[in-house]
Every structure is written in C-alpha cells, then in structure tokens.
Amino acid sequence: MNVPQYDVAELRRALAEDPRTAELGVQVRIRGDQLFLTGDVACPERRAAIAEVAAEHSDGLALHNEVRVVRHDPPTGQEDLR
C-alpha cells in the first residue's frame, strides 16, 4: 500500500535523525508524484545533504529542493524596545 502520509513521515524522520542532515525544520510535501522540500538551513552544503538524503527516500518522486540558505548579513536596523 502506498500511503503518502507515511512517505512524508519516513522522509521527515530521516532528515531529522540522519547525521548527514539532522534537520528538524525541513517541511516535506508530496503532491501527486512531486516532492517539495522547504525550509532554511545554515549553509549550501546542508542544502545539498538534504537532497542526498531525500533522494534515498523518494523512489519515483520528482524532487523539488526549495530549501534556502539563511542570510548572514549584518543587521540593517534595530528595534527600539524602550
């Protein structure tokens, strides 16, 4: 039986528990035979690792890696809490 919910769960678990990724903040959606990954990670290598682990758990799905790398720019403003 092919249950997309379990495929999502399996992939999320792999992304969280596989030491190559250890990402709890990646969202996984399967729509039809399309697999979408979204979220923000710390560096480009992390983004690539997510694709690598996802590929091992997404037989027959077309992978769309929409994960972004967070920006590290110095702050452009400040919030006044006085």
Binding site: P19, A22, L24, G25, Q27, G39, D40, V41, A42, C43, E45, R46, V70, R71, H72, D73, P74, P75, T76, G77, Q78, E79, D80, L81, R82
Partner: protein, 246 residues
C-alpha cells in the same frame, strides 16, 4: 541606550568553519553584546563546539549563550560548555551574568528550557515514566531559570532561552508540535521577576515578536526567522529613582 544583539539556531558544523565570523567583524558598531539563543551546533559534537568557539570567541563585544536541543544530541553538552567558557563565551544554564555597559548593569539569566506546551493545552507529569521524565525536565529547567532571575541585580534584565516561553512567537508553526517547541512554565518563571526582554530561538517557522502572558516582550531570533547574522534590540534602563521625595 543599550543595544542587544541576538541570534539563535546558527547550527554550525565542521563544514562551516570560518564562514560565519566575517558577519560579526563589525558587531561593535551595531551592538553592545551578543546573545546566542541555543542550537549553536548541528549534532552537538565537541568538534562542532570548537567551530562555535572559533567563530564567536574574541569578538569585540561580550558573547552570552545558552545551549539548545541540537547541542545535547551527542551528550557532549558539558564539554561544549567547558570549551566555550574557556574561550571567553559565557554559557548560561539556570545561571545569570551581569555586564557593565557604559555604567549600566545589563543582567542576563538563561537556560535551554524545554517543551510541554502552553497553559491549558500542555502535558502533565502523569502516567508512563517517559511522560513524567519529559515534563519533569521542563519543571526543573524552568525552576532553575526562575531562581537565576530572582537572584539577578541589574538595571536591565534579560531572559535567554532556546525553547520558547510564549505561544505567540510560535505563530506559523503547526499547533500540533507546540509541546516540542516551548512551555508556559518558562514564561511563568520570567513573569515572576521584573524582566525587560525574553529572547529565544528553536522555532524556525515561528514569528519574531510576542509577549509572555504577564506582558514581558518576547523575541524569537531563530536565524530562519530573522534572516540576518543577528538582530539588534535597544533598551533603556528604567529611570533612576530620585533620592528625594517627590
């Protein structure tokens, strides 16, 4: 005016050595201190802790950190705390520190925190051993935070945690995982003292701004939220009481 720099969830790995420090080279132009709201590492290894030390030690402003859940993944949290401390980074866990910033005493009390959920929709220390251990951990870290805050004498008082003390800064996260994102018990500890600002991380899909139930401002500085090296919040110490009767 005191300028608080803050970021959480930098998740440094050994593949990131040297990539982050440049963003903090001119930090003294923007902030008077830097708070790190946990999840400094990815897998919580000593090697990753060393990268954190290399990236954040010896900046032009004091650095005060708490650890996060990722920093506990490899059971090396004590070693990571030790090596950061050796390199001059203050690591809080149920403890507090006071900095002098141009004569203003800035006090920060902090700790990792934990989950359980928010008032009226939370877990209880009842049933299986695993359930009790989960909630007791929250109770313990919240109690230590409360004690640290109550012992803190300062002109500006900040609470620093990894987990969230407010459901408001979790907006954007699925409610179904709130018990894994924070606890009202942290807010109750914060609201038991006079706190000017509570800073946390952990909730990558949450919202930057919220308050505790008691009205203390809360800011979620998880890096995926702030999309910058750090945020800056400015605070002014409460006016000094005049020595003569009004």
């Amino acid at each position: 005016m005191i300028r608080i720099g803050a970021v959480g969830d930098v998740h440094l790995g050994v593949d990131m050595r040297g990539t982050v420090r440049p963003s903090y080279a001119d930090i003294a132009e923007h902030a008077d201190l830097l708070l790190l709201a946990g999840d400094l590492t990815r897998l919580g290894t000593v090697a990753e802790g060393e990268v954190v030390a290399d990236e954040f030690a010896g900046l032009d402003v004091p650095v005060i950190a708490v650890l996060g859940n990722h920093d506990h993944q490899s059971d090396a949290e004590d070693k990571i705390t030790g090596l950061l401390t050796d390199r001059g980074i203050t690591v809080l866990e149920g403890s507090a520190t006071v900095l002098d910033v141009d004569g203003v005493r800035v006090g920060v009390a902090g700790g990792k925190g934990f989950g359980g959920g928010f008032a009226g929709k939370c877990g209880h220390a009842f049933g299986e051993r695993e359930m009790k251990a989960f909630i007791h951990h929250t109770e313990e870290v919240a109690e230590r935070l409360r004690t640290a805050l109550q012992g803190l004498t300062a002109d500006i008082r900040i609470a620093l945690t990894h987990y969230s003390p407010s459901a408001e800064t979790l907006r954007g996260e699925p409610p179904e995982i709130f018990p894994f994102l924070g606890s009202y018990q942290l807010a109750e500890a914060i609201d038991a003292s006079d706190v000017d600002l509570a800073v946390h991380g952990h909730a990558h899909y949450g919202t930057e701004s919220g308050t505790t139930a008691g009205g203390v401002r809360v800011r979620n500085v998880a890096q995926p939220i702030i999309q910058a090296a750090y945020r800056v919040y400015t605070l002014e110490p409460a006016a000094v009481e005049p020595a003569y009767p009004r």
